[in-house]
């Protein structure tokens, strides 16, 4: 990763603050994202709260390209009062897939009031890079994720159930205990028979293969 001096990104940060149109904002965010400066990370996270989906997508991609170094700031700066910003930050964490996000993702998936946040976290729980955890912690972490995803698969909101299927399918592709794999496949079989929502049912068929 190319890291440039923080002083040299200051003009890029200023350009974001001065942007007076959505197009200029997106351009300025793109420039900062391309600089890949650690000093720019808090600014990219702030952009997630601007209620501008175009700029948010660019900022998320920038944060994801920074990778592991963006994880701690994303966790610390998670916006408890703006669910739009929170959903984008969770999506960035999900794409980076660093298991340090596990607790944040578990609580977002279970208890956030915003469906967009819950969907993003639910999908992401299945996609963490378990190999980054100390080996002794992997089994316990996977078990927590499995329990939460199985519970979320019963949610009353179709979109949350859809996300749970995506999360469980991803979880099942990692290496895990055989009895958990059969638990996931039993859940899918049951959902295939009882799921009332056509879109979720189709997603279950796909997961079963």
């Amino acid at each position: 990763m190319v890291v440039i001096e923080s002083t040299s990104v200051q003009p890029l940060i200023n350009a974001i603050e001065k942007a007076d149109s959505p197009e200029r904002l997106i351009g300025a965010v793109r420039a900062l994202a391309m600089a890949r400066s650690e000093a720019g990370i808090p600014v990219l996270i702030k952009v997630l709260g601007y209620n501008n989906p175009g700029a948010a997508v660019v900022a998320v991609n920038g944060l994801v390209q920074m990778g592991a170094v963006a994880v701690q700031p994303l966790l610390v700066l998670l916006d408890d009062y703006n669910y739009g910003a929170r959903a984008w930050a969770i999506r960035a964490l999900v794409m980076i897939a660093d298991p340090r996000a596990l607790d944040v993702l578990l609580s977002a998936a279970m208890t956030d009031f915003a469906p967009s946040v819950r969907r993003a976290a639910t999908k992401g729980l299945g996609m963490l890079q378990w190999q980054l955890l100390p080996e002794a912690q992997v089994t316990a972490a996977q078990f927590r994720v499995l329990e939460v995803l199985l519970a979320i698969a019963q949610d009353s909101d179709w979109s949350i159930r859809y996300a749970a299927v995506v999360g469980l399918q991803a979880l099942a592709t990692g290496s895990m205990r055989p009895e958990w794999l059969s638990q996931i496949s039993a859940t899918f079989q049951q959902m295939a028979e009882t799921e009332s929502d056509l879109a979720v049912q189709a997603r279950v068929y796909r997961a079963i293969g």
């Binding site: 915003a114 967009s116 009353s156 179709w158 979109s159 995506v166 189709a202």
Partner: protein, 284 residues
């Protein structure tokens, strides 16, 4: 309210609500004739919100469609409006004849709610009554001075006809009546008409027009276009939906409409269905 996405069903159990305290189904039904008019109004909304479709609720709401006690200063009928909206959510076709009578109500918003609910209840018997409200042609879509609406609830009428008229004997007349609205200055009416024309003709020109509407400069119009494309399940729009400048929730709900149409008409695992699911996965 970005999170109250289009078409999102309310599956919450009838236990409590943040406004007005908790109700039971029996209380809500009883409250429809409560001396306190605000409790009647609230009860009608509540029964629809929590999808209380038991016969006693339907009967009481049908009676409320004729309510004379609850009036606004401008002569509107608030309870009738809420009862008409609720009945559209409760899937009981016994409500159809009462709703058809509401189409003649002097209150615009009662007519609008009735037209919407008749569309969702799916009984084509009301089509001549819907068409009748459009008999004045473009006059029906003339703005009423001093009021924030047109002479008739054209958007709701057009959408209901798009849902009900395809494949019926009234299809040609429905097309003739609504086609002039394709160039109406109110964008939402244009979109509703475009959507209904697609449902009535299956011509791709209408689906493509809604794809173009995804580039509208107003985010609210883009959201309407997303919802319309989902409603018609227009598969060629999949990529344009996924990359449109709107919140993921709206795009996800729109793509759900495409996926459901694929699943109904082909198989759950057709190539097209899998492509739509890939796009949906990426929007979670």
């Amino acid at each position: 309210m970005l999170e109250s996405s289009p078409g999102q069903p309310s599956n919450m159990p009838p236990v409590e609500s943040s406004e007005g305290g908790s109700l039971t189904v029996e209380q809500a039904i009883a409250n429809l004739t409560h001396p306190d008019l605000s409790l009647r109004y609230y009860a009608a909304w509540w029964l629809g919100k929590f999808r209380v479709s038991e016969p006693a609720a339907i009967d009481a709401l049908i009676v409320a469609l004729e309510d004379e006690s609850d009036r606004t200063e401008l002569g509107g009928y608030p309870l009738r409006r809420n009862a008409a909206r609720a009945l559209g959510k409760l899937s009981d076709r016994r409500a159809v004849s009462g709703l058809v009578r509401c189409l003649a109500c002097e209150d615009f918003y009662v007519r609008e709610a009735a037209a919407q609910s008749l569309g969702t209840l799916g009984d084509p018997i009301c089509i001549p009554d819907l068409l009748w409200l459009l008999q004045d042609g473009v006059e029906a879509a003339r703005p009423v001075s001093g009021r924030p609406h047109l002479a008739q609830p054209c958007e709701a009428l057009v959408e209901a006809l798009g849902l009900l008229a395809p494949g019926t004997e009234w299809q040609p007349e429905a097309i003739a009546r609504i086609q002039p609205f394709l160039s109406h200055p109110v964008d939402r009416l244009q979109y509703a008409t475009t959507r209904a024309m697609y449902q009535l003709t299956h011509e791709t020109v209408y689906g493509d027009r809604l794809i173009q509407a995804l580039a509208a400069s107003d985010i609210n119009l883009r959201r309407v276009a997303l919802s319309d494309l989902g409603a018609i399940g227009y598969l060629p729009a999949a990529d344009a939906i996924a990359s449109s400048a709107a919140e993921n929730s709206f795009k996800l709900f729109s793509l759900k409409g495409l996926l459901e149409r694929q699943v109904r008409e082909a198989t759950p695992l057709s190539e097209a269905a899998i492509k739509v699911m890939d796009l949906m996965d990426s929007l979670l």
